[in-house]
């Protein structure tokens, strides 16, 4: 990839130097780079912030430039912006510098493909106000985003050793939306360049950046707020004398299973959140009963059985968590209808609730739920024994599909752990 992009850069560079447009080029580069640096990038995988894979926000400008001054211009612009912004980000955020180079190479290839297509449809230096130029613009943006998304997905799947198909399914779905968002701004930039030159860019770029920045601020605050409620729920469960530290582990397992089941990323995040909060209702209960090593009396058992509904009631007034309330209320239902509180059948229980039930039971079986306490009526099982137990209950106590996927996830985790320990021992 690096080699191909270097060749492309060199090839695109020749006409640039010949046309003596370096002054205008430098001005545009300065403006666009400043734009890029002012912005927080739009990460494609926010749950892995250390992996710096991003979609550049300067894309519409690059396409407009390619359309106005030729594709070579676009390629060089994108290369310089990506490299400078990437290296600055490396310094600021502490990501590894190779991500800056990977992103630059990706940008060059995408910009070349897009610029070339656009130039075929619409030769540079023609009026922007025609149907043909509009078509070229849309095609250019679409191709840029498509090529870039595919390259980024390949990179992600290599770096995270996940299946390319799954990553592609997640990332490609946002391409039409991004194209729709970028077309108007790209068109404006191109028009301004033609009518008013480089200064005109200022009048378009600054409002655009402001708008974009507003979205970013809001998104960041929203994430912070999610974090706040999540950690509060977690801490409250920790402070309660009963709940051990198994919540985070359950939450991580649950997210992995959700990903493996092919749920969309936002949904996977919600599953993580729900798994972290699934026993919140237990904090309302009498910890002497929850901790009781002996068998519970029927009244005590009735007390304990209230916890899914209590958890749902606690969270029912929080709008952004409304989706996960039924999952929490139903995480002790069973596919065969013998669960509590309602005794629902398999098709009445949401997939997410069935998922949390499996992961929760697994972690409890291997002794993760209350590691500091000896529970007399229960001996911790080994991972194999616990999986066998899940398989025995598949279809009756547990959802068969979820158990199947969970098994794969656990085996994968074991393999990774073995690799890790063998590496460490070497």
């Amino acid at each position: 990839m690096g080699l191909a992009s270097a060749v492309l850069l060199a090839w695109a560079g020749v006409p640039l130097v010949q046309q003596h447009q370096l002054g205008a080029f430098a001005a545009i580069v300065a403006l666009a780079t400043a734009a890029e640096l002012l912005l927080v990038r739009y990460p494609l995988r926010p749950e892995y912030p250390d992996r710096g894979v991003w979609l550049s926000v300067s894309t519409p400008v690059v396409i407009a430039i390619a359309l106005t001054y030729g594709w070579q211009f676009g390629v060089w612009l994108d290369a310089i912006i990506s490299l400078i912004a990437g290296l600055v980000m490396t310094q600021l955020k502490g990501t590894r510098p190779r991500w800056a180079f990977i992103n630059t190479a990706q940008s060059i290839l995408s910009a070349a493909a897009a610029g070339y297509t656009a130039a075929l449809l619409h030769p540079p230096y023609l009026s922007m106000l025609s149907l043909r130029s509009g078509g070229a613009l849309v095609a250019g943006l679409a191709i840029y985003l498509l090529v870039n998304t595919v390259l980024v997905s390949i990179t992600i799947s290599i770096a995270e050793s996940t299946r390319l198909g799954w990553v592609l399914k997640q990332t490609i779905s946002s391409v039409p939306r991004d194209v729709a968002l970028m077309v108007p701004i790209s068109f404006l930039v191109a028009l301004m360049l033609q009518l008013q030159g480089v200064v005109g860019l200022l009048g378009v770029l600054v409002p655009y950046l402001a708008l974009r920045q507003a979205f970013v601020i809001w998104a960041r605050q929203q994430a912070l707020y999610h974090q706040t409620i999540r950690s509060l729920g977690f801490l409250v469960q920790r402070a309660h004398p009963y709940t051990g530290g198994h919540l985070q582990r359950v939450a991580q397992w649950a997210r992995r299973v959700a990903e493996r089941l092919g749920l969309p990323p936002e949904r996977c995040e919600l599953v993580y959140e729900a798994a972290l909060l699934h026993d919140l209702g237990k904090t309302v209960l009498d910890e002497r009963i929850l901790n009781k090593p002996a068998r519970l009396t029927p009244e005590e058992w009735e007390h304990v059985k209230k916890h899914p509904q209590l958890g749902a009631e606690i969270l029912s007034d929080t709008p952004f968590l409304s989706q996960i309330v039924p999952w929490i209320a139903l995480h002790h239902e069973r596919p065969d209808g013998k669960g509590y509180p309602f005794g629902l059948n398999s098709d009445q229980i949401p997939l997410e609730a069935r998922l949390i039930a499996v992961v929760d039971a697994f972690d409890a079986m291997i002794g993760g739920e209350a590691p500091n306490q000896k529970r007399l009526h229960r001996r911790p099982l080994s991972i194999e024994e616990a999986i066998a137990e899940l398989e025995r209950g598949a279809g009756t106590q547990f959802d068969a599909q979820v158990v199947d996927v969970f098994k794969q996830v656990v085996h994968e985790w074991q393999r990774q752990r073995e690799q890790h320990t063998s590496k460490a021992s070497k």
Binding site: V199, G203, I229, A239, V284, D286, I314
Partner: protein
């Protein structure tokens, strides 16, 4: 030349709009979101203690009204609102049987219960987005004589919570006279004056509050 001026005007205008959004609109909306989120945890304590602790809505409404009367700035009012929801969260670590006991508490249990502001604050302290509320949560039962220099909002919470509890369990007359007796010793004089004015104005005073819907909401 016109082009340049036009561009600069548009640029400055949009930057000002951004600043307004980032410093006025977003904080207000974020505060609402935070309140909606932490409200769940007040509800949790209410459920755990059978309605004895954690009750938030009546306290919140009155506390904000009194805070406005005292002229507290918006930032303080927001912290106060969050503290109302978070103040009793430490009760989650207090044994269930102590919280739900129908007989009088022992000396040891009383001492444990008196530590709840400290426990609440230590939980709130650990959360980056809420850390700034922790001092107020810690001081929500502050005694005027012991810490006269504590923030006004802490004195407000301390006095108002006592007034509401007494009014609910006994009568508003008794609650008011106990607040008056405690002026300068247990309660901050300025705060007590503002609370009594507000209570008067809202018509809560002199009614049978044990059955008044306004206090249960």
């Amino acid at each position: 030349m016109h082009n340049i001026i036009w561009s600069i005007v548009v640029a400055i205008g949009s930057l000002m709009a951004l600043a307004y959004y980032a410093f006025v609109v977003v904080p207000a909306r974020l505060h609402r979101l935070h309140c909606e989120g932490v409200r769940a945890f007040a509800r949790l304590i209410e459920l755990r203690s059978g309605g004895r602790y954690g009750q938030a809505e009546p306290l919140r409404t009155l506390a904000l009204a009194v805070a406005q009367r005292l002229g507290l700035p918006t930032r303080e009012q927001r912290l106060l609102e969050l503290a109302v929801y978070l103040r009793d969260i430490g009760m989650v670590a207090i044994p269930y049987h102590t919280l739900n006991k129908s007989t009088p508490l022992t000396e040891a249990e009383r001492a444990l219960l008196a530590r709840h502001p400290e426990i609440s604050a230590s939980i709130v302290e650990q959360i980056p987005g809420l850390r700034q509320v922790a001092p107020l949560v810690h001081l929500h039962h502050v005694v005027y004589q012991e810490q006269p220099n504590a923030p006004l909002s802490a004195h407000l919470l301390s006095a108002l919570e006592d007034w509401l509890r007494l009014a609910r369990e006994h009568s508003s007359d008794l609650a008011t006279s106990i607040l008056r007796q405690g002026v300068g010793t247990r309660y901050h004089p300025q705060v007590v004056a503002a609370i009594l004015e507000e209570v008067h104005q809202q018509g809560l005073y002199g009614r049978d509050l044990a059955r008044s819907a306004a206090l249960w909401l």
